[in-house]
Symmetry: C2
Subunit: 218 residues, 2 copies
Amino acid sequence: MLSQTKRTQVRKGAHKAVQEPQVLFDIIDECLVAHVAIQEAQGPVVIPMLAWRVGDFVYIHGANNSRLLRTLRQAAQTCLTFTLFDGWVLARSAFNHSAHYRSAVVFGQFEVIEDKAEKDRVLNHFVEQIAPGRTQAIRLSNPKELAATTVLRMPLNEASVKISNKDVGDDLADLELPVWAGFIPYRTVVGPLKATAGLHASIPTPDYSAAYGARWEN
Amino acid sequence: MLSQTKRTQVRKGAHKAVQEPQVLFDIIDECLVAHVAIQEAQGPVVIPMLAWRVGDFVYIHGANNSRLLRTLRQAAQTCLTFTLFDGWVLARSAFNHSAHYRSAVVFGQFEVIEDKAEKDRVLNHFVEQIAPGRTQAIRLSNPKELAATTVLRMPLNEASVKISNKDVGDDLADLELPVWAGFIPYRTVVGPLKATAGLHASIPTPDYSAAYGARWEN
């Protein structure tokens, strides 16, 4: 169960709250983009960052001179939010329109991965998640590249997860109105692979579809 | 041109920065989900919110008792970030892997829309953006519903916009490696409409595809 702290307690729409860590993990694994906040002098700043999970930790990475990473590596309090938008809910009244979504709000502080072998391992884990088998084919990072990269991790132990997937919620008095009600679904389609210009014709196209399940399209 | 302030100056990847307001507007109009940050006692908090644009302003709404809206209506400094993820860039080296995306980071302070007619107008504008013509069919909001809804707006005059859509950026020395390089595109597919359970069979299915262009699928 995810920990219940003051800041993870879902007050609005509490029926949408989910406590199972696996639901959080699935949202992160499908989303892979976190909106990461830091507090600056003028106010909060939210930056989209690639973020991936290995076990109970979430990882982000970037160049050593990134302003965001320089702040986060000081163990600044941060919040990472992951959102998957699943579509619109069209009710019979304007007021009852809503959306389907899955979201996770994760709180904590990052720590730096100093060890180069561990950096290499978690970065390659990320490549494998995007493109299974690819670390067997590409040139892996050299010591200079690893030294230029900051990798941070944060434990996934303080989070609030919400899933909104319910039927249209109309007022009883509106149910007989002669108006269409239902859903506009959104889905993400991944693929097909597109080769870079000038790729040698003898190089076969790999198959990364296993990472994407039903989202993959050839 | 978008204003250049200390906090909107793009330092990392400056070649990805875009100054034209229309590019910002297009990202907001396609995304419609903002990651909105406020500063709380323990640290920043990022909440996904529906956010839509009318002219040079971005709007959010919610119940009057929303914690986030109660903070934002005090003119708290905030940041709204919009991100459209367009896919993975698979280079010949682990280090040069990257992503295609379009993002906008908007700074400012919200103000409350007090006038009920103006609230109604901008809320209906949002419904029309999602489902063109729909405000002609649905029950529009009554005074009680409008009174229960907080609508906030913020001018779109301090933002940094980045578009990453370049070719694979491999090191010269890696170009001859026998490894596939290219892109895993992501795209959002919208539709087809799905009626709610129990919808009367005599009610025709509307056509909202005009709002979605090439993203629409029947």
